[in-house]
Symmetry: C2
Subunit: 348 residues, 2 copies
């Protein structure tokens, strides 16, 4: 089966589809008992760096739910590590990168040399997952956006106010731009490596784009993602940009040449379709906490989303953010069944 | 001097003004050394509940910066406390309300009886602040929105995913609605008490409105604020609704009859003016972290905001969220001076 026959890719290409494809951000994760079983034996970073383990957890949700796309199990912070920062994951405290990137010297110390070699375990994982998927399900590769990566690299640890990156932005904007340029190069090379290893689609996560005021969004995040999209266009894999931050940011990505734009759950999907649906396919956007709810309400919210596109192609069903770790697995199964049944009826 | 001669109120009423008024959300707060000096001696809740102390800290930023409006020093969680929850402030861990409101019984246990009596220390503070302000600066009273208060009451403590309120909303929506109705009554009576005691304007903080998907915003937050606005219209004080959550929520407040809408810093002020500027005055919206920046960039960002209204009235300058505790006081002075000078020039 060739790439163009995948439901996920056909929906992005706005080709005729028999139902709406579905996958879930963080679908390989803690809400799955089989994932927990792996994590009981290996820590997070070991799973990321061991192709066999990354493959196993990538395939788990495909086996259980038959999602219409698999996504490489990895972490966006492997790039800062490859550039020279020390990466640690503190249980229940999130990731830590050290030393923080604050002054000119810190930026200069980062080195892109040998990036692909340092991240070859990711290429190995991609190859192994592809052979495990046996051409039935396409594999999405991914990266954080330059701005999102810079946020983690500058803050060093989870933050509420993003003081350090904001201080740099409002005090030494040229320093931040230099870092973002370096990251644009690193992300481009990293994603090309994934594509060469067999990734059949790419998603760039701009998780922290929404901490930028809209008038600065393109300057610090949007334009660098656009540069990456241009670089990746030498391949033919579809590219999705997912920026958490509402309709005003989405609007600024309309000229990005991305094949699909991710819509967060704080944005109205019908508004998004009206605003940027002519420029790209859309992915999303169920509020992840709907999965704490009753089956009746899950169904109603799914219907709400599916009716936005109706019989039209150009939509991939997903949550509007990653699935939460304590979501009942039963509700995920119910969601998948509901999207399948309901969208099959709509498209028939 | 009568109410209609205040710069802040004239700007809301879209009357001719000689410059743009400015005040800052959380202007009485930890970034001020004189506030810290008070807090070294008294804990937060004692300051809220002692009219003399509340008055002192309310007046501090007026003395130092001559802001164009004072805002009552208090906390939005005094309402849940008056309704029967236990309120504690843990140093560096935020507020705690117990027991959480989760089931039907928890809702039934809340009692609105004697609300004004229990909160009479707030009315006392309003009277004392008014006499301290000596009619030179108007006093803004405030409350949290019903939805925002419900969020704190249900979660009990700071949260990232808002699991409990979302679970109630997606599982037992009628229970949440009942709680919101009770809070609408409580907030209305609380604000009328503040107005009767001398508050010359009102602001309702819908801090957590943005955790609602836009299609559920009116149902769980917007419509209850609108009900409160209607109730307060028996007085003539201007009412501001501040909902953090972007242009799509702002649009849903256009028919609220509020005199002013607060614009958060993640929303473009020019977009906001185009969208809802015909319905209400606008307040905002400098990114609070701009105050970590250089004077050159602070000036540029202020100019950006002031140019949106130009010589037109209908704008009150403010941050797009509360001021952060570690902002240099010098930068606040520079901001105030810049807004005054620049807007005086624009309006001359």
């Amino acid at each position: 089966m060739s790439g163009q026959d995948y439901l996920y890719i056909n929906a992005i290409r706005k080709k005729k589809i028999e139902r709406t494809p579905i996958w879930i951000m963080r679908q390989a994760g803690r809400y799955l008992p089989e994932y927990q079983a792996v994590r009981d034996k290996y820590d997070f970073i070991t799973v990321c760096k061991t192709p066999e383990l990354a493959t196993e957890v990538t395939l788990q949700p495909i086996r259980r739910f038959g999602f219409d796309a698999a996504i490489l199990f990895s972490d966006i912070l492997v790039i800062p590590e490859a550039l020279g920062q020390k990466l640690e994951f503190m249980e229940n405290h999130g990731p830590k990168l050290s030393p923080q990137i604050l002054n000119e010297k810190d930026v200069n110390r980062l080195s892109i040399e040998g990036l692909e070699e340092k991240l070859s375990y990711v290429a190995d994982a991609v190859r192994l997952i592809r052979s495990g998927l046996d051409n039935r399900t396409p594999l999405i590769g991914f990266s954080g956006s330059p701005f999102t990566l810079a946020t983690y690299m500058i803050e060093g640890k989870p933050t509420r106010n993003f003081k350090h990156i904001k201080t740099m932005m409002y005090k030494e904007p040229q320093r931040l731009i230099r870092l973002l340029q370096l990251l644009t190069e690193a992300v481009s090379r990293y994603l090309l490596m994934q594509i060469n290893a067999g990734a059949q689609a790419i998603q760039i996560f701009d998780t922290w784009g929404g901490i930028l005021p809209p008038h600065l969004y393109n300057q610090y995040s949007g334009r660098f993602m656009k540069q990456i999209v241009e670089r990746l266009k030498i391949s033919s894999v579809p590219i999705t940009l997912f920026s958490k931050g509402g309709i005003e940011l989405l609007w600024q990505l309309k000229d990005s040449n991305a094949d699909m734009l991710g819509v967060d759950w704080m944005t109205d999907l019908a508004d998004a379709r009206q605003t940027v649906g002519g420029f790209a396919a859309l992915q999303g956007n169920l509020d992840p906490t709907v999965l704490y709810g009753s089956k009746e309400i899950i169904k109603k919210e799914v219907e709400n989303i599916l009716q936005v596109f109706g019989r039209q192609s150009g939509h991939v069903f997903n949550l509007g953010h990653g699935i939460l770790p304590d979501i009942p697995v039963d509700n995920v199964q119910f969601l998948v069944d509901t999207v399948r049944e309901m969208s099959t009826k709509i498209h028939s």
